[in-house]
């Protein structure tokens, strides 16, 4: 019997709220994970800039989401496309979403805010070391005030994808793919870092602090224990189950990426191995509550395998410069995870003989969300490019964004 079911209704409400609050705090800490990861895999001259971008997209995102985003996502539905109420002060309005919620409204808003900010912060890694700070803030506003909430409404706000049968438990598509599409368009339109592609050759630009990057991955993994189990929005057996599928997908992803890099490049690459674990974590978000434990291992393994090839494909074939691999981790993991959820869900999946319906809905979800995000973010970056510009000057890029944009360096040697 569920522990919470033994409690009075009021006590269950408090317990569930407390759990989701703790989960929200875990997800908040993922911002630190992203910052460690991204700055560690970039050069020291841009470290402050990356940390500040990760800090600011949260501050901007939380406020924009409160005033606009939440209403678009969870406001009363308009034709399955967007929410049209709950703007400016969602907590004091009568919204359909508040009914039968089972947890505190404030905690629900907080948890959703963390997810929104996670989506926005994915971008900073892919455009690292060359994207203008002021333009980045505007990108954060549009991501948290429009792109993420609209897709979120389709999937979680009772929109058309939800009605179609599309299901994404913790956001392989709703969070990670959305962030990845925006990151991809950003990296594509801002162009590669100076010196990345010269004379048709692909040059490696090593990160300045690999241990910090890996620490970031550990922090992200820890945050995922809030991200996935918290998405149940209650404390019950499903919550506990998701902790296990989350763990195994990450381990499988990490190990497979480790061995693939070992075979391909003769030595096990630490950065690819930890990226593989992240890709597994992204991939398991959709099916975290619905696949079997072996299903979670399979999803993690496929994501880890795909990750190494995706990194090479992005880097060497389409030549989009992504210093931290966020496009591959969140994009590849997001798409694969959403589709594999449709195949491996025990109760609905195609491979368990449940018919093609759920899988088809997942395919439609991946395609439609991809098309929407790519078009909207293409317009966003193009408008910014034509107006205030999205790329720092060449001189600024050489000197480093820390000194030029913020007037400081990350690691002063104190030689005055």
């Amino acid at each position: 019997m569920d522990f919470v079911k033994m409690l009075t209704e009021e006590n269950a409400y408090m317990f569930n709220s407390l759990w989701v609050f703790i989960a929200a705090v875990f997800v908040f800490f993922m911002q630190a994970g992203f910052a460690c990861c991204e700055s560690g895999f970039a050069r020291s001259k841009n470290a402050c800039n990356i940390w500040l971008k990760n800090f600011c997209d949260f501050c901007v995102g939380a406020i924009v989401y409160y005033f606009i985003g939440f209403g678009l996502m969870y406001g009363d539905d308009w034709n399955g496309v967007i929410g049209i109420s709950g703007f400016f002060n969602p907590l004091s309005q009568n919204l359909a979403v508040w009914e039968g919620l089972g947890i505190s409204k404030e905690i629900f808003l907080l948890f959703q805010t963390m997810f929104c900010a996670t989506t926005a912060t994915i971008i900073s890694g892919s455009v690292a070391e060359r994207f203008k700070f002021n333009s980045y803030l505007i990108v954060s506003v549009v991501m948290t005030g429009f792109v993420y909430p609209v897709v979120g409404h389709w999937i979680w706000g009772g929109g058309w994808l939800a009605n179609l049968g599309f299901a994404d438990f913790a956001g392989s598509t709703a969070v990670h793919s959305v962030g990845a599409y925006a990151a991809f368009m950003g990296a594509l339109l801002v162009g590669p870092r100076k010196g990345k592609y010269e004379d048709g050759k692909v040059k490696a630009i090593p990160g300045h602090n690999i241990p910090m990057g890996i620490l970031g991955v550990f922090i992200l993994w820890l945050g995922w224990y809030g991200f996935n189990p918290g998405s149940e929005l209650a404390l019950d057996h499903t919550t506990f189950y998701t902790t296990i599928t989350t763990t195994y997908a990450a381990c499988a992803g990490g190990l497979v990426a480790l061995f693939v890099s070992w075979i391909k490049y003769k030595k096990p690459d630490p950065t690819l191995a930890v990226n593989g674990a992240l890709c597994g974590l992204v991939g398991i978000c959709t099916g975290v509550a619905s696949v079997s434990i072996s299903g979670s291992l399979i999803i993690g393994a496929i994501c880890g395998l795909a990750l190494v090839f995706a990194i090479e494909f992005v880097d060497k074939v389409i030549k989009v410069d992504d210093p931290v691999g966020a496009i591959s981790i969140h994009g590849c993991g997001g798409i694969l995870g959403t589709l594999l959820g449709g195949l491996l869900s025990v109760e609905q999946g195609l491979l368990y003989g449940n018919g093609v319906g759920y899988f088809l809905a997942q395919v439609i979800g991946v395609v439609s969300v991809g098309a929407f995000c790519i078009i909207v973010t293409f317009i966003l970056y193009t408008v910014l490019k034509k107006t205030i510009g999205i790329r720092v000057s060449e001189e600024e890029e050489i000197i480093g964004l820390d000194l030029e944009e913020h007037g400081m360096v990350a690691y002063p040697d104190n030689m005055e």
Binding site: A204, K266, K267, D269, T271, L272, I311, D315
Partner: protein, 121 residues
């Protein structure tokens, strides 16, 4: 430049050998030195590694540079002390460079030359 009769012995070698070199120098009475962590390339050459799937040439290897200021007549003794611990006969043992020192001035008491080295001759 004045003939001071003082030399600067510069040794560049693999960082892991520093502590035995210091001990060996202590054995011939050398207690003062300036140490720098440096990077360099030479006959050892570089090698190709991979970073996230992209090839990268690692040709600068970490080295340690030790500078010792001694009277000319002590140079041979120092060189022998250095060789005794660094020489394996293989590539990458390092190099010794010997320069004349034009002048030495101790800032605290304006002493010059040998007096600045605090060596009684």
């Amino acid at each position: 430049m004045k003939e001071t009769g003082i030399s600067n012995v510069v040794v560049i070698f693999k960082p892991d050998k520093f502590s035995i070199l210091k001990e060996s120098l202590k054995g011939v009475g050398i207690l003062g030195m300036t140490v720098t962590h440096v990077e360099g390339c030479g006959l050892q050459g570089g090698r190709i590694e991979h970073y996230r799937g992209a090839e990268i040439e690692v040709d600068l290897l970490p080295k340690t540079k030790v500078e010792i200021i001694v009277p000319e007549e002590k140079v041979n003794e120092v060189v022998l002390a250095v060789k005794s611990v660094l020489k394996t006969g293989k590539m990458g043992d390092g190099k010794i460079f010997i320069y004349d020192v034009g002048q030495i001035i101790r800032i605290s008491n304006d002493a010059e030359g040998f007096d600045a080295l605090e060596i009684k001759k």
